[in-house]
Subunit: 122 residues, 2 copies
Amino acid sequence: MITRKSTKRKSIKPSSADIDATDIFALIGRAENIEQAAVAMQAMSHPARIKILCMLSSGEQMVQDLTDAIGTSQSNISQHLGILKACGMIASRKQATRTYYSIEDPRILKMITLTRDIFCGV
Amino acid sequence: MITRKSTKRKSIKPSSADIDATDIFALIGRAENIEQAAVAMQAMSHPARIKILCMLSSGEQMVQDLTDAIGTSQSNISQHLGILKACGMIASRKQATRTYYSIEDPRILKMITLTRDIFCGV
DNA sequence: GCCTTGTATTAGCATTCCCTTATATAAGCT
DNA sequence: AGCTTATATAAGGGAATGCTAATACAAGGC
């Protein structure tokens, strides 16, 4: 199925050990990692969710504060939080009626930090 | 509308000059930048498009090679390329029947490099 | 001129996303 | 117990996304 001129390797799906950073074709063989990245980016790729992650990147926040700062309905924020939590990006801690959210996955912290750096220069 | 305890600033939408990196609320006021970031991430957040960008990150590639390496239909790849191009991430150059694509926006190069780093460790 | 190759475009359909509205739950307060 | 506050969940519909299949287009080779 794969037909390319420079056949440096025969298979399109090399094992992990087979990766060579200079081979442009090696990378896309890491289907599982790419899939993960796509899911993560998809989850992050909404203005409200980016804002949430930005706020969480400086520490735990409660729903009310997120809602006030971002400026949409409480229900909507709760749903966005649900999406982020469903893919393991954030964690929640309940204290009485309040729920505090925080970033759980360190990779996401890295991602949001860079995104902020690149697009906001902050 | 905004009701938070530590009222370091009164408005939720400070001017650019007003940004302070330590203020968690300042950032989300940069609505335009956040919007841009969301659009960019949304465009990147598909396995095929991540693969395309990974391949392009090591230089110009033609459609045929992308199609072969990624393993979906030519039509499908062409549509994904269209999406990436529509938001200015990539550029195309036509040479006879071939079309060569390359990354145009340096921010995207940065993003894809980091994404690769984080999720693939490469 | 015709056939092949490389790429783009269109249409259609199934799926997913996102918002709004309404309601549920649970804890604190009086 | 009732009221209020904080959060979650469910239902609904409209929009966006993503795939396939079919077709268009443009350049080269014979």
